[in-house]
């Protein structure tokens, strides 16, 4: 974990130097295209890029879930996540599974970055840390280490953030979000969709 923090700082510094420490902005793509209709006297709008971002995320999640359920590589991943030692004894190449996992995780992170650019049109070299923390906590409040838990936690966190900034002062958004995360972790340490950890079955919690 310490090595990953070090690598994170290296990437951040490289980005700071290449961007001269400034925010980088892009003019919005197709600002007039997308969904637009009137509902109860309020004009609801969703840009083409927002809809593309949501569609891409849904597609990638379904692809991953299908991959995990239907392919041998998905079964290997589940076996290694249950018990790496037993998986190795069963003939699974654990190193290769970990390598594929890292490559896939890099792809997912890259897709998130691409969505950030086309949806919000602004990039800052420091945004990675806050983004990583929020995504990490989203995974933890769902049930860390499970894909469905991560998805549930992320949707819940986004709903909380959007709900707060729609109804209350946006300056307190992060205070409330992290406060709720602490509360959830106090009340349900295994996450919202996780089963409680049993001492005699430490690896069965997920």
């Amino acid at each position: 974990m310490i090595a990953s923090i070090g690598l994170s700082i290296v990437v951040q510094e490289v980005l700071r130097l290449t961007s001269n420490g400034r925010d980088q902005w892009l003019s919005p793509y197709f600002p007039n295209a997308g969904l637009s209709f009137e509902l109860s006297g309020f004009e609801v709008r969703a840009s083409a890029m927002s809809l593309t971002a949501v569609a891409l995320a849904v597609f990638l999640c379904l692809l991953l879930l299908g991959f995990m359920r239907l392919t041998p590589a998905g079964r290997w991943w589940r076996a290694v996540s249950e018990d790496a030692g037993l998986a190795a004894l069963s003939g699974i190449n654990v190193g290769r599974v970990i390598a594929i996992t890292f490559a896939s995780a890099g792809g997912f992170a890259a897709a998130a970055g691409g969505i950030l650019t086309v949806r919000y049109s602004g990039v800052n070299f420091t945004m990675g840390l806050m983004l990583a923390l929020k995504a990490l906590f989203a995974g933890i409040i769902g049930c860390f280490g499970t894909i469905s838990g991560a998805i549930a936690g992320a949707v819940l966190l986004a709903a909380l953030e959007t709900g707060w900034q729609a109804a209350f002062d946006i300056n307190y958004r992060d205070v409330v979000v992290f406060g709720v995360i602490i509360l959830v972790l106090m009340l349900r340490p295994d996450g919202l969709v996780g089963r409680p950890l049993r001492v005699d079955q430490p690896d069965r919690a997920r």
């Binding site: 980005l15 892009l26 970990i98 086309v118 990583a132």
Partner: protein, 102 residues
């Protein structure tokens, strides 16, 4: 009021799209290594920069259609960090596991 709520749901879905992908990335890695890799957040930022520069380049050459988006995602996808990360971290994991056994 209903329209306002629907608008907020749409805004929330766009935000959730980012969080979901990154949270899944964290979950994937943590499930098999039991480690948290903080670099994934900065990897997303790096991909954002790649996508931004490619999109700017596309604007310079006046590609005014979905080609821009495809180019941006193509740039964000196969970024050069994935290879060193995927090839070194498993090796490092095995090394630390063998040290722990000793």
């Amino acid at each position: 009021m209903a329209g306002y709520i629907v608008q907020q749901i749409l805004n929330g879905l766009a935000l959730a799209a980012v969080y979901v992908l990154l949270a899944v990335a964290f979950a994937l890695v943590h499930a098999v290594t039991r480690r948290i890799v903080f670099t994934l957040g900065d990897l997303a930022t790096y991909a954002s920069f790649c996508a931004l520069y490619v999109a700017l380049l596309a604007l310079v050459f006046d590609f005014r259609d979905y080609t821009q988006i495809l180019l941006a995602f193509a740039a964000a996808g196969p970024q050069p960090w994935r290879w060193p990360l995927s090839s070194t971290v498993p090796w490092w994991s095995r090394l630390s596991a063998s040290r722990a056994k000793r």
